[in-house]
């Protein structure tokens, strides 16, 4: 690779781009290009770190006050899609559990005494899951209720 060709390739490289092997080899072997490339790299790094307006004070406190007053808490950790998937899995499990071998074994072992406690447990599970869903999206539900009330007049 010729020096001029190598430097052109170096100058065309993007910010933080991985340099082609041939170019890296050339830069290793050629002292003149290595010096030029190093100076360019230094200049680019210097410009990126440049304190353009050093007189500027810290306003992070006021920004954070405004952020806290903006009303967005982001306490929610699970997207709606995951909530719905969880709900579908729970409901499908309730229907499918009666066809499983384990259910037959439990029925044989406990007899009809199993039905009521099992459905109580499943009911509690669905209730807790739904309550968590509603609590995590309380603000959204509140807005929807208010909108609905406004529409009703």
């Amino acid at each position: 690779m010729k020096c001029e060709q190598a430097m052109e390739q170096y100058l065309r490289a993007d910010n933080d781009a991985y340099l082609p092997l041939a170019l890296r080899i050339h830069l290793r072997m050629c002292g003149k290009c290595r010096k030029e490339a190093a100076a360019m790299r230094w200049a680019l790094e210097m410009l990126r770190k440049e304190e353009l307006h050093s007189a500027y004070g810290d306003i992070s406190g006021s920004v954070m006050d405004a952020v806290r007053n903006s009303g967005n808490s982001y306490g929610r950790t699970m997207p709606l899609r995951n909530w719905v998937s969880g709900e579908v899995i729970i409901i499908a499990s309730i229907f499918l559990v009666q066809f499983s071998d384990d259910r037959h074994w439990l029925n044989n072992f406990f007899g009809s005494n199993l039905e009521v406690p099992l459905y109580i447990v499943l009911g509690v599970l669905v209730t807790v899951y739904s309550a968590l869903f509603v609590v995590s999206r309380l603000e959204e539900f509140k807005e929807k209720v208010v909108k609905w009330q406004n529409r009703q007049g």
């Binding site: 430097m7 100058l11 065309r12 993007d14 910010n15 933080d16 781009a17 830069l27 290595r34 010096k35 030029e36 490339a37 190093a38 100076a39 360019m40 790299r41 230094w42 200049a43 680019l44 210097m46 410009l47 990126r48 440049e50 304190e51 353009l52 307006h53 007189a55 500027y56 810290d58 306003i59 992070s60 006021s62 920004v63 954070m64 405004a66 952020v67 806290r68 903006s70 967005n72 808490s73 982001y74 306490g75 929610r76 950790t77």
Partner: protein, 187 residues
């Protein structure tokens, strides 16, 4: 900025999960950069300070839309740029940060001269460009944005961005030829 490359994304993930207090670290880290962009748009420290506040509030309010497909820093710069462009619509066009460069007095005479040469080369590159493309130079050289990010932000074709940056780099290279930078900063 390299040393923080994974930390930003980790912080943002935590903020998205509800730890809003961590957002302050992002504000502290990038407020000066965003302020510089504000100065580029408004040329007025008061307006630029308001702009910084608005950009970070907007970023926080939209933080759930950050999917981690690019570095958070570029996403923030994109939010800031779009907000600035929307604010100055109808006003005068944003000027380049190159115009604001001043050589600091606390450095050696060699370094001072070198910086002057670099700034002058960039100034030359910016002066040669049509006004609307000057932002490419700022985003590439001062904000470290790669070509595709600049294209995504500005809507300019990637080859246009590349050619303007290439031209500026050539001028920079000429300015650095035979300078002390070549002696002191060898790889």
């Amino acid at each position: 900025m390299e040393e923080y490359k994974y930390v930003d994304e980790y912080i943002i993930k935590k903020v998205q999960q509800g730890n809003a207090g961590l957002f302050e670290q992002v504000v502290k880290k990038y407020q000066k950069r965003i302020f510089s962009m504000g100065m580029m748009f408004f040329r007025n420290p008061d307006d630029a300070s308001d702009y910084v506040q608005e950009v970070f509030i907007k970023t926080f309010n939209n933080i759930q839309t950050y999917r981690g497909q690019s570095k958070f820093y570029y996403w923030l710069i994109r939010v800031a740029y779009n907000h600035g462009i929307n604010m100055v619509k109808g006003m005068k066009r944003a000027e380049s940060l190159v115009d604001t460069l001043v050589v600091d007095g606390d450095i050696s005479p060699e370094e001072s001269q070198l910086k002057k040469d670099i700034y002058s080369a960039l100034q030359h590159a910016v002066d040669d460009l049509p006004e609307k493309y000057r932002i490419c130079i700022d985003l590439y050289f001062f904000y470290g944005c790669p070509y595709h990010e600049i294209t995504a932000m500005t809507g300019f074709p990637v080859n246009t961005v590349k050619s303007h940056v290439f031209r500026a780099k050539q001028l920079l290279r000429d300015a650095l030829k035979g300078s002390v930078a070549e002696e002191y900063h060898e790889m």
